[in-house]
């Protein structure tokens, strides 16, 4: 079942939650909506589910317009951030709820309900908890029950709102890979909302990065991480250093080094910013080749396989900090200590014309 949204806009009072959002989710895909607080990702998910209606725009399921369909009729499975389990019902009753409330002629017989519920509880590996109440379960268990309950109605699509947001770090990691495996078995079209980039990049087939009610970029985890389409995506996905400079007819001057910028041949005397990931910076003790930026080591964090250096640029009175990541091997080679003079050179970067404020 594919999902398509066209030109969705939604206002909450003066706040624009969605601004002309269009998106296609392919059948069987696991898609992440990633963005900071207030980026509109949860609103988009709720509009797809029918829990919220957009001011303008359309929602289509498998090419059919579902915009005016009530949430009851959309056959979506929705998993809430805080689980929303019914506390007055046992786990079994929670999972069976969606089957029990069906109109009589569509309602499965009791033995069939029983069979289906136990099948789902086995799927989420919590069959032994069926007689307990929600408050007797751990957070991770509750979230798995919430998923089983959503799946019980055989939804056409599965929507998850920050599914691991309320869990602690360890359980989060476990459930994350478990969800990925589950999706690989079931191939149900799924959309999940998260503000955790690591979660999105690790689990999803494709990632939609959202900001201020707009989609900034859609792509596979590799694409969005390696080739961010905007400064926002760069800053949101992982650590990044900013080098301010100038751009003119396909050449750029960044911190005193001149580099090629073939995609900006049209630019005329623009100020520009180069975005460089910490591991894309080459560090040396001497100036090597085409010039480099002088800096001093102000802090070293050498725990783990990657050594993180914090450098201050010579030309900034120690105000501008640069984060660099190098391998332990390279670190041993350089034999750096605090206060050492080094020279750095961005090995790979993306240039964006500076935003005018």
């Amino acid at each position: 079942m594919s999902i398509e949204v066209r030109n969705l806009s939604k206002q909450f009072g003066k706040f624009s939650a969605l601004r002309d959002v269009s998106l296609e989710v392919k059948s069987g895909e696991l898609l992440a909506l990633l963005g900071p607080s207030g980026s509109g990702k949860t609103t988009l998910l709720r509009v797809i589910a029918g829990l919220e209606s957009a001011d303008t725009g359309q929602v289509l399921f498998q090419g059919e317009d579902a915009t005016d369909q009530h949430v009851r009729e959309r056959q979506v499975g929705f998993v809430f951030q805080h689980y929303a389990l019914f506390r007055n019902m046992t786990i079994f009753e929670n999972v069976a709820f969606g089957l029990r409330v069906r109109p009589r002629k569509f309602r499965p017989a009791e033995p069939e309900i029983c069979r289906r519920v136990h099948e789902l509880l086995k799927l989420v590996q919590l069959d032994w908890l069926s007689d307990r109440y929600p408050h007797q379960l751990s957070g991770g268990q509750r979230q798995r029950i919430a998923l089983a309950r959503a799946l019980a109605v055989e939804p056409r699509v599965l929507l998850l709102d920050e599914p691991f947001g309320a869990l602690d770090a360890k359980v989060r990691k476990e459930l994350r890979s478990w969800l990925r495996r589950l999706h690989d078995e079931m191939h149900i079209t799924s959309v999940f909302v998260t503000h955790d980039q690591e979660e999105a990049l690790e689990v999803a087939d494709r990632v939609v990065v959202m900001n201020e009610g707009r989609i900034e970029q859609i792509g596979t985890p590799d694409e969005v991480y390696e080739h961010p389409a905007s400064p926002f995506v760069y800053e949101f996905l992982g650590k990044v250093n900013l080098f301010h400079g100038r751009l003119h007819r396909g050449r750029a001057w960044i911190g005193g080094i001149e580099v090629e910028a073939p995609e900006h041949t049209e630019a005329e005397e623009l100020s520009a910013v180069a975005y460089v990931r910490p591991h894309d910076i080459h560090v040396d003790r001497v100036v090597n080749g085409d010039g480099a930026i002088g800096a001093r080591v102000s802090h070293i964090l050498s725990v783990g396989p990657v050594v993180r250096l914090e450098l201050t640029r010579d030309d900034s009175d120690g105000k501008e900090l640069i984060q660099v990541e190098i391998s332990k091997e390279r670190f041993r080679e350089l034999q750096l200590v605090r206060g050492d003079q080094v020279f750095i050179r961005p090995a790979r970067f993306d240039l964006f014309p500076a935003q005018i404020h």
Binding site: A49, L51, V71, R72, Q75, V76, G77, F78, F80, H82, Y83, A84, L85, F86, R87, N88, F97, G98, V101, R102, P134, H135, R142, R149, A150, A152, V153
Partner: protein, 276 residues
Amino acid sequence: MKFKQHSVLPGFNLALGFTLLYLSLIVLIPLSAAFVRTAALTWPEFWSMVTTPRVLASYRLTFGASFAAALVNAIFGLLVAWVLVRYRFPGKKLVDALVDLPFALPTAVAGIALTALYAGNGWIGQFFEPLGIKIAFTPLGVFVALTFIGLPFVVRTVQPVLEDMETELEEAAATLGANRFQTFSRIIFPTVLPALMTGFALAFARAIGEYGSVIFIAGNMPMVSEITPLLIITKLEQYDYAGATALAVVMLVISFVMLLIINFLQWWSRRRGVVI
């Protein structure tokens, strides 16, 4: 275990001592007087005093009217709480504030106002008179007065529970295909049930002991529209101290039982309210 756990804060002995002294002098010793007085009676004496036909008729009226009033308040209190929490309408804040009127209005005032309204020639009573329904000066009048004084209890116990209910639960039910009626009966109602029962019990307990608002509207006919608290006063005025005290003890025992039930219901409410 020690009586009191250690604390750096001062004043415990003074505060607790004063609390116990005050409570003993004002509440506990006077209350015990009723029991001590009654203890002078033999059991058969006591039993015959509290089971005369007139007394039994007063129990029937007091409990019957209180139960009916609390029931009506449970139903309409839930409705009022729901409307106040969920919907928007003009004058809502004023209505919300006025719900507490029966707590603030002296019972005697409520009594004479209701009597004037529900009498055969009153604003409301005139509509019932042609139908052959008399409200004031009949047991029905007792029910009206008790409904008035019990009105805020259910509203004020159910309201916060409805306010705290996450919409997520209702949304979850909707995504699973439940219609509004199913969502209400299977999700919302079970959630507010403990609070609803607490409110019912509070209204019922209050109604049983009520005096001021009832005596004006009741007509106070022995065997027909005479409530138990009034009977106590009547016995007192006839200098039948033993009889008045025996009835008071019955009322007190019922009060204590109601207090236990209410405490249990409140505990249950809190337990049901555990945040998941």
